[in-house]
Structure formats: structure tokens, C-alpha cells
């Protein structure tokens, strides 16, 4: 019991530790694809460290919420991540939250992020918040639809059951999974504010979404916010990787199993990161009002997944 909780703790810490690495990896690959050498792989860690020790500057107009938000955002994201099986299946912490709770926790984080954006009372903050809420409003149903497809297949909304069900089935070509996968990928791009929905590296005023909300942050607050978004990216990566390709994840808590699980998941994430970087270099960011079309595609895919599950897989 205690042991399993310890593993859960370890896994949670692993998320925090690995998140910057994934970002670093993606940036590196992008740089390579653009024939640049790019920053070192561990650069994100350095950035975070620097931000953490820097002094904080808070606008006059900011309310206490401004300073509270980073912690909530960070913690909510982290807790959400901690419930997603990374290296080992069936951890007690996974019982705390099923997929819907996970979406809820991310929603909580987003809520405070948006509020923080509006708190200072600058035009950009409000703009960012408004756009973020639009995107999430369109992304969330798609996400849940995709998740429901899996959930209805496994007759359960708990990730553990979904994965183990998938493992038990062995390798099946489920059309519903294909659609759900597509949907989840699109949603992930939108939610983690990656190209083509948002550009994490831009500070060009009118195109920012996520950055616009962080505009006024500095020091450790900024660090927390950045870190949270990195964890979020990792979370989605793991979600996609482990839900659709759960093979290799540790079925028991033996060190060997955990080790294998870790290695395998790192490999999966590396591949995903590669794909993401490639996508971001080949695609261009789209106008804000093209985004709904993009997300409607995601919703459509998710719906198709659900229907094909209902019609093709359960029916008759």
C-alpha cells in the first residue's frame, strides 16, 4: 500500500522532472529541422531556474488573485498529470480522478489562467483570456467525445481500466480508436497552444493567445506558469501515447517493470515530440477564426469515433 503510494509520488515527481525535457527535445528537433543548431536540450531547466531566482514585479493594478493564480494553475495541472499512468498501471492515485475529473482539473487551471490574464486590466490580457476560453470551449467537447469513445469501449472512465482493457484485447484495429486518436491529437495541439492554433514562441501582440495571458508575469510566477504548460504538454503526450499504445507500461510494481515502463514511455514521447516538431515546422499558424473549423474537425472525428463504436463495434 505505502509502496504503491510511494511509486505514485515518484511518478508524479517524474512528470515535473520530465516536462521541461520534452519541451527541450521538441525545440531541439525543430531547430534541427530548420537547419539551426538550437539551444541545448536542457535549456528549459536553465530558464526555469533563472526565473525562479529572479525578483518578481507585480503591476499596481493586480489583485491578490494575480499572485495566487500561478500556484493553483501549477498544482491543478500537476495533480491532473499525476493521475495519468506514466510508467506503472493501477496506481492508487489514479483512483482519485478518472478522465472526466482530469479534464475538470485542467479546466480549473485554465479558469485561473484566464482570470489572471484579465486581472491586470490590460487589453492583451483580456484578449488572450477571451480567445483561450473560445478555444477551450470548442476543444473540450471534442476531447470528452474522444475520451467517451474509449470509455464506452472499456465500459469505464478510469484511465487504468481503459488501458488494461486495451492491453487485454491485444492489438485490435478499432475504427473508433483511429478517429478518437485523430481527435485527441488535434485537441492536444489546441489545448497545449501549439501551432497551428497558437504559437508558443511569438509575442506578436495580435496573434498571442496563451502568451497574452502571461504577459504581466515575471519571476517565479512566470516560472510556475511556464512549467505548468510544459507539464500539460507532457500530460497530453502521455495520454496519447499510453492510451492508444499502452504496451510496455509496468503492469506490476517490480523495479524491472517500472524501468521498462519508463524507457518505453520515453521512447514513445520522443517519437511524439519528433512528430510534433515536424508538424510545427511544416504547418503555419492559422487565423483565429479558422480555429473553430479546425476544432470542429476534431469534434467531427470524435463523433465519428463514437458512432462507429456504437454502430460497428457494439451493434448486433
Amino acid at each position: 500500500m505505502i509502496y504503491s503510494w510511494l511509486i505514485a509520488l515518484f511518478q508524479a515527481l517524474l512528470y515535473v522532472a520530465l516536462a521541461p525535457l520534452l519541451i527541450g527535445w521538441v525545440r531541439k528537433v525543430r531547430a534541427r529541422l530548420q537547419n539551426r543548431r538550437g539551444a541545448p536540450l536542457l535549456q528549459p531547466y536553465a530558464d526555469l531556474r533563472k526565473l525562479l531566482i529572479k525578483e518578481i514585479r507585480v503591476p499596481h493594478t493586480a489583485s491578490p488573485l494575480f499572485r495566487l493564480a500561478p500556484y493553483i494553475v501549477f498544482v491543478a495541472t500537476w495533480l491532473a498529470a499525476a493521475t495519468v499512468p506514466l510508467v506503472a498501471l493501477d496506481l492508487p492515485i489514479a483512483q482519485i480522478a478518472d478522465i472526466i475529473v482530469l479534464v475538470g482539473l485542467l479546466g480549473l487551471a485554465r479558469f485561473f489562467l484566464a482570470l489572471a490574464g484579465m486581472d491586470v486590466g490590460t487589453a492583451f490580457g483580456g484578449m488572450g483570456a477571451s480567445r483561450e476560453m473560445l478555444i477551450s470551449a470548442l476543444a473540450e467537447p471534442a476531447m470528452l467525445m474522444a475520451v467517451f469513445t474509449l470509455a464506452m469501449t472499456a465500459h469505464s472512465t478510469s484511465l487504468v481500466s481503459v488501458m488494461s482493457h486495451h492491453l487485454a484485447d491485444g492489438f485490435l484495429l478499432r475504427p473508433s480508436y483511429l478517429f478518437a486518436f485523430g481527435a485527441l491529437v488535434l485537441v492536444a495541439l489546441a489545448e497545449c497552444s501549439r501551432i497551428p492554433v497558437d504559437n508558443p514562441t511569438t509575442h506578436l501582440e495580435l496573434t498571442m493567445v496563451h502568451e497574452a495571458m502571461l504577459l504581466e508575469y515575471s519571476g517565479r510566477h512566470l516560472a510556475l506558469m511556464e512549467w505548468a504548460s510544459q507539464i500539460k504538454l507532457l500530460l497530453y503526450g502521455v495520454l496519447i501515447a499510453n492510451v492508444f499504445f499502452p504496451w510496455g507500461i509496468g503492469q506490476d510494481f517490480g523495479l524491472l517493470a517500472l524501468g521498462i515502463g519508463l524507457v518505453v514511455v520515453l521512447l514513445k514521447l520522443a517519437v511524439l515530440g519528433l512528430a510534433l516538431a515536424t508538424a510545427e515546422t511544416t504547418l503555419a499558424k492559422m487565423r483565429l477564426f479558422r480555429v473553430p473549423a479546425f476544432l470542429n474537425l476534431a469534434l467531427l472525428l470524435a463523433l465519428l469515433g463514437l458512432l462507429s463504436h456504437v454502430i460497428l463495434e457494439v451493434g448486433a
Binding site: 482519485i96 480549473l108 490590460t122 483580456g126 472512465t157 457494439v314
Partner: protein, 670 residues
Amino acid sequence: MSTHAVLLLAALSVMLALAASATSLLASREPRILRLIAMPLIGFAGLAAVAAGLAALILGGSVTTTLPLGLPWMPWHIRIDALSGLFLLLIGLVTSAIGIYAPAYVRDFERGRDSLTALGGFTGLFLTGMLLVVLADDAFLFMVAWELMSLSSYFLVAFQHENAANRRAAFLYLLMAHIGGLAILLGFGVLAAFGHGFDFASMREATLSPGWASLAFALAFLGFGMKAGLMPLHAWLPEAHPAAPSHISALMSGVMLKVAVYGFIRVVFDLTGQLQWQWGVVLILIGSLSALMGVLFALMQTDLKRLLAYSSVENLGIIFIALGLALVFLSTGHALLGSLAFVAALYHAINHALFKSLLFLGAGAILHSAHERDLEQMGGLLRRMPWTGSFFLIGSLSISALPPFNGFVSEWLIFQAALQAWQLDSGVLRSLIPIASAVLALTGALVAATFVKVYGIAFLGQARSRHVRHARQGALGMRVGQGLLAALCVLFGVLPTQIIGLLEPVSAQMLGTGLPQAGAQGWLWLTPISSETASYSAPLTILLLALIAGIAFWWFVRRAPRRMRRRDPWDCGFAPPSPRMQYTATAFAQPMRRVFGMLFEIDESRPAFDDAAPRYRLKLTDRAWGLLYLPVMQAVEAASRRVVRLQSGNVRVYLGWTLATLLVLLWIIS
């Protein structure tokens, strides 16, 4: 403690409510009576109701009695079972909070010219009506109480009647309430026809043919749905709720709509007997429509109270989706899932009562101290009124269904129920229900957007007008009232297992099955169906959130002692922003308005380039008006215009009518 205590407590509650209205008869002479006696009495009535409700839920079973009033051959029947107990609890909780809040709030009216007697008296009657609806055990008393509820709330809507908008709102409200009441009455007529009696006991005995049962269902759905403000019969709601004084708006939105839900449950689940899955489908469709449209309209509003009213439409839609799921599952023989959806509906009903009242009280506090309902004029209120700000934040989080607050739990349960659709045989239902849940998800996200907008615009940023800049913290009573509700929101969010334990007897009594699994894993773990299927531990969630946040905070503060400097906002290096440069509520909603534009009638006028005094004007109207209400009004107008020709004024024509009538009749009978 015997079951009679329940009756006594309920009676006490009604008595106190009546006493409140009686005492406020003197308020016209001595204004302070309203504040010092009447409103506290309302609060005590609420407490009594809470006690009665809890007692009824805990003791289980049901107590009945009759009062020597009503029709000669049928005295008023009173019955308290688990369902009534639950709604007594709901009414009581909100009412007691309002009892604390109101005294400070009604102070404002002591200076005004509106009759305090009316305010206090009708508030008491309003409460009485709601209590009696829940207690009624025969159609007659039910209808009397029901109409009393509508009528007294109508007077409260028309309370500040010098404002023409309020008068129009009151008219529309009473008209639709009347029609709805008649529909319900006819529904009872059907049941009574087969049950040979107006008391619910004999209606339960009645065995209806499917056709008649469906008729009864349709009438009940029409009537109660109209009261619950389901689309497209919602038109009165966003007009009426904001018009009333804020604590009354809280009662109307938070409690009265739930009484409508109670009535629907009582009639359809309890009295009508054999359920049909088609009804469920109807509920799910209408519910989804209301939820989605409701939240979209809420998102577009800039008047805070209107916005909250529209969001009530949305939440009632969610409740009815859950009820629809319950109907589908029950009628297809999945008792457990049925009771899951049923409990989810009840849970959401309570939650909505709590957070919606909280939000309305918050809006009232703003109105009280800043005399402002328009979001575009607000801003920075969190620093002006920190308590209200914090409570309002809790309310917003709860209504946005974010863990670990109460709104989340109920929506989570609804999702859980919806996701069991795979157990149904009919493929149509199997694919319909998940889509409905997608709508639910979309709704949830939009609600979050709405309340980010509300909170961000109203409480954050900088004040957009002078009187808001100088708003002051409300009186203690008002703060305590909000605090109570906020605490309840957190409580209901953090201890779902216990709450469901409280709700279970209701579904056990109504549907014959509870949720045996819900607390099987211990109070920490909420597992509605089984721990494999889904589990959620709110206590641990909040515990871990608090723990990690605390650790992180402590760690940072220790490692990097607070070096923090205040400065102007950077804002990408533009000039220091002025309040007028902030994003407005209208601007915030603009992307959504553009994406969902086809659903409204938008009348927008942008300023020209060379406009000396540029003005942006936006008018957004409900398509329901053009499609449903105006045609009816025009039809009546046209008909009356034709009919008045009868009164031509010429006596010979009149005589002609008489002669014609005579001849026609004689011809008919021969």
C-alpha cells in the same frame, strides 16, 4: 424523535413564513419591522424547513395528515416523504441564508416609495407557497400552493413598478405562469379522471392507457417546463428574475425553479406510473436545447442579473437531461442506472440552488453598494469588496463545474450515467445519449467562459465607472449570508459520498433502488457504479491541491525571500493602460458571438472611420420571440380586431343577430 416531529417542524416553518407576512403588514407604519422582524422570521422558517427536511430524509418513511380546508369532500392532504424532505431541505438552506442576507439588503427600500408591506408580505407568502407545493398530497392543494407561489412572486417582480420594464416583465411572467398552471391542472385532470379522486394516493392507483399517460406527461412537462424556463418557453425568465429585488431573484432562480422540478418528478415519476422511454428522449432533447442556448445567451449578456437568469435556463436544462436519462434507463429496465441519473438530477438541483442563490446574492451586494447591474460599468470590485469577491469566485467555480466544487460532482454523475448508454438495446439511444453528453460538455466549457467573463470583468481589472470605483463592502449580514452559501457549495463538493447517502433514500422510495455501490469503497471514494467503472475522490483532490500548493508556496518563500516590486503593467510596452483600454464584456464575448452567430438575431452597428463621436451599438435578440411569441400575439390581436365588429353600435344590426340566431337554432333542432 418520531415522524410527527417532521410534521410539526414543517408546520412550524409554514407558520413562521405566514407570521413574516403578517408582521410586515405593519411595516408601512414602522419600516424597521421589515428588517428586524419579518426577514429574520423568514430565516427561521428556513431553518425549520431544513430541520424538517433532514428529519424526513433521515427517518425515512412518510407521514401524512389532512387539514380541514379545501373542497368539502376533500380536505387538504399533507404528505412528507423523502422527496418532499429533500426539497424542504433545499428550500430551507437557501431561505435561511437569505434570512441572514435580506435584513441588510432591504434597508435600501426603507427610503424608497415602494410599499414595504408588499415586499415583506409577499415574500412570506411566496415562501409559504413553495413549502406547501412540496407538502401537498392532493391536486387541489398542490394547485393552490402552486398558483400562490406564482402570484406572490409576480407581485415581487412588480415590486418596483414605476419602472415600465418591470411591469412588462411581471405581465409576461404572470401570463405564462397562468398558462403553465392551467396545463398542470389539466394534467391532474387526466390523472384524477382515471384515479377517481384528486388526492395523490388514488392517482397512484390509477392505471392509464399509454396514450392518456403520455397526455398527462405532456401536460405536466408543458406546465412545469414553462415554470422551469426550458427553451422555448423561457422568455419570461430572463425578464422576471432580474426585475425582482436580488434576494427574491435568488429565491426565484435558486428555489422556485427547483419546485418546478419537484412538481415534475412528483407527477411523472411518482403519480403517472408506467414510464415510457420516448418521454426520456423528449426530455433529453429539450434539456440539451435549453442548456446550450441558455448558456450562449448568458455568455452574450452584459446585465449581470440577466446573465445569471439565462444561466438558470441552462442549469435547468442540465437537470432535465439527467431526468431524461433516468426515464430512459428506468423504462428500459436498468433500475440502477436510472437511480444514478435520478440522484444526479437531484444533486444538481441542490447544487444549482446553492450556487445560483450565492451568485444572485453577490449581484445583489454589488447592486447594493455600487448601484450597478451593467458589467460594462464594473471592474476591480475584488479589491473594493474582498468578501463578496471571494464568495462570488467560489460560486463561479462551482457553477463552472470545476473540481473540487459541488457543480462538478453532479455533472460528473450525469456523465457517468450517460456513459452507461452502451447497456441500452436500442442503437438510436446508444448514439443519441453520448451526443447529448457532448452538448453537456460544450455547455460546461461555455459556462466556464461565461463566468471567466463575469468574474474577470466585474471583480478584476480596474473600475470602469466612478460609483463602482467607490463601492464599499456590504453589511455584515449580507456577507454572512453569502458566506453560508459559499461554505455549503464547498461542503457539497468535497463530501459527495455523504450527500449521495442523503439523496439515496429519495431514489430508494421513488424508484425502489438506491445506489448501493456509491460509498462501497469508504467515504473517501465515490464510486457510483463500481470502482472499476469510475471513481472520484473529492476529499483527496482538495487535500492534495492544498498540500502541494502549500508546499510549493512555502518552499518558494523560504528559498527566495519575497523580493517583489510594484510597477506599471508592461502591456507590451504600450502607455500605462487606462480603464477604458480594458477588454469589455461585449468584446470578451465577440469571438463566441461570431462563431455561434447564426443562433441569434444580431443587430450591430460599427462606427464609421471619420466618426467624430464613435459609438458601437449591439442588440442581440432571442429568435424564439420572432418564431413563437410574436405570431401568437399578432394572432390574438387580429382575432380581437375582427371580433369587435360584433359591437357595431347599430341596434338594428343587433336585432338582426338575434333573429339570425333564433332562426339558425330553430333550423338546427328541426
